[in-house]
């Protein structure tokens, strides 16, 4: 009988860390081999099933992914009564079952680069999603306080306009 290895870390915990001025990383371990996890990240029909949490009243209505280095992708979301929104960019590196790197080009500036790594160990796969911004300011703007505050500010503006037009 061999001694058990270190007790397994709780594999279903999602961790988020800021790993520098310009980068944030989300990690999670899945109970499946890398080729299966990789397939879920690179097959449109599968992406549609998990990318948008059910608690959000939004749907991914289209998903085109040409998963190879230099290939492009486009995800289209619909939400309530708003016009559809597109998210798009290019894959700048694709290593099957190991690594995906894509650009996020939907915003004119401050586009981040997303790197997803897949590491298999004993039939489980640890996924790390790195979001890297061109500058610390861009990370702040997309990431933390400002974007949320700005949405709110614009919402205010819209509602104020509506209120004023109603009087």
């Amino acid at each position: 009988m061999s001694a058990k290895k270190d007790s397994e870390p709780n594999s279903k915990v999602t961790k988020v860390e800021r790993t520098g001025d310009r980068e944030r990383v989300v990690t999670r371990t899945f109970d499946a081999p890398a080729h299966i996890v990789f397939a879920a990240w690179t097959t449109p029909e599968l992406m549609k099933r998990w990318w948008v949490p059910k608690s959000i009243p939004m749907a991914m209505v289209a998903c085109e992914m040409d998963v190879r280095t230099g290939g492009s992708y486009r995800l289209t979301f619909e939400m309530e009564s708003m016009p559809p929104m597109d998210f798009f960019g290019r894959y700048i590196e694709v290593v099957p079952n190991q690594r995906l790197v894509w650009t996020n080009e939907e915003s004119d500036e401050n586009g981040s680069v997303t790197t997803v790594t897949f590491e298999e160990h004993n039939g489980k796969t640890t996924v790390a999603v790195h979001e890297r911004y061109p500058s610390a300011e861009a990370l702040e703007a997309d990431g933390a306080h400002e974007a949320a505050a700005e949405v709110h500010a614009q919402l205010d503006e819209l509602l104020v306009a509506l209120a004023a037009s109603a009087t």
Partner: protein, 142 residues
Amino acid sequence: MYAVQNHGQRNLRTNVSVCIRNHMVQYYNRLDASFGALADATRRGVLVQLAQADASISDLANTFRMTLTGMKKHVSILEDVGLITTTKVGRVRTCRLGARAFDDEAKWLESYRQLWAARFDALDSVLEELKAKDQNSERQKR
């Protein structure tokens, strides 16, 4: 006025799209609260007023012909959802239109984590299904 509306909608759309990746959860929580705050005609009036100029709570109470206590309640509801901010100088509390940023980065990171956790929980069930299919096809090969 129509033009202003369009402008607002366009900006809202741009910003919502910036937020889809990272901010869905927070955005919806706040949007809900905001709509609640806006369900009241006086509070909408206060926003319109503050869009023109900052005002003290007693100014607002006068404008809307209500008691200071009544106005304080409305102001605090609007402030809670971040539609306005207030600052107190001496005995006067001034209200202005504006969004309150998230209280701190830790809080924000936690919502960001929750978004990914929800996403990954859904991914778990997709993976279970794929694993079962994978094992079936392995068996058939043998």
